[in-house]
């Protein structure tokens, strides 16, 4: 398992252990929400990675449409997969938060509706992929779909939930474009944001390498 290339992965592993310790030992409980606020360290970075993966999926979809190279189709697909998993985890952590603050896991709050629609949109991408047998046709249709699907992301994640009254706490970057977070909480939050981004990079790299191996062994 050794080797220089793995060292950043060990660093990431250690970084996460430190961040977890920071989340439960170093960061103070938030005013009003108490210890429950610590879920934000996981919930927001999970949602962030979801959006990032959808963006990369869209970029690869566009690249496929330009070049028709199958690797871009595969990259778009696995990034959409990663995005879906992380969005699902963000939904679950959000529901846990809702249960303890609003009394219910799910109450069709605008935030919950918008993330649900997002999950449906990206879930439909995989339904589309599995319904077309011809690989070229599937790749072309999927590339168009994934590119257009991303247009909905800023609306569903950033705009629509802000247009309607919601029980969801103020976003990290609030309407006044300021971050209202206690200093130590902010440090831990940023550490998790960086950590989860690194984790996404690692998972995407693993998927890429598997893809390359598959192509090599097929030859």
């Amino acid at each position: 398992m050794g080797g220089g290339k793995l060292s950043w992965k060990y660093t990431l592993g250690f970084w996460f252990f430190l961040s977890i310790a920071g989340a439960f030992v170093y960061a103070p409980p938030a005013m009003g929400l108490g210890d429950l606020a610590r879920i934000i360290f996981f919930h927001v970075p999970l949602a962030w990675v979801g959006v990032l993966a959808y963006l990369v999926a869209m970029v690869n979809g566009v690249r496929y449409l330009k070049t028709a190279r199958p690797e871009y189709d595969h990259k778009a697909a696995f990034n959409a997969e990663i995005g879906l998993v992380f969005t699902l985890l963000a939904t679950v952590t959000g529901a846990i938060f809702a249960r303890h603050t609003w009394g219910m896991y799910w109450n069709w709050d605008p935030r919950q509706v918008s993330i649900f629609v997002l999950l449906l949109i990206y879930g439909a991408y995989f339904a589309l992929r599995s319904s077309v047998e011809n690989p070229q046709r599937r790749a072309r249709l999927s590339a168009v779909y994934i590119s257009l699907a991303f247009i909905t992301v800023p609306f569903l994640v950033f705009i629509i939930p802000r247009l309607y009254p919601t029980l969801h706490p103020d976003p990290i970057l609030n309407a006044e474009r300021r971050i209202n977070m206690e200093g130590r909480m902010l440090q831990v939050f940023l550490a998790f944001l960086a950590g989860f981004t690194g984790l996404y990079a690692w998972i995407a790299q693993l998927e890429s390498r598997v893809l390359r191996l598959r192509a090599r062994f097929k030859r």
């Binding site: 398992m1 060990y10 592993g13 977890i20 439960f24 090599r216």
Partner: protein, 39 residues
């Protein structure tokens, strides 16, 4: 406070598991890459 310790322990163990899984997966992929390169 004790609840917080339980969540901390669960988080550490979960991350340890995920990390172990990812490192093993990485190592297996690396072994396959080497196998291909040595052909």
């Amino acid at each position: 406070m004790s609840e917080l310790r339980v969540v901390l322990a669960v988080s550490v163990i979960s991350w340890g598991g995920i990390l172990y899984f990812l490192l093993r997966l990485d190592a297996r992929i690396k072994a396959l890459e080497r196998q291909y390169d040595s052909r």
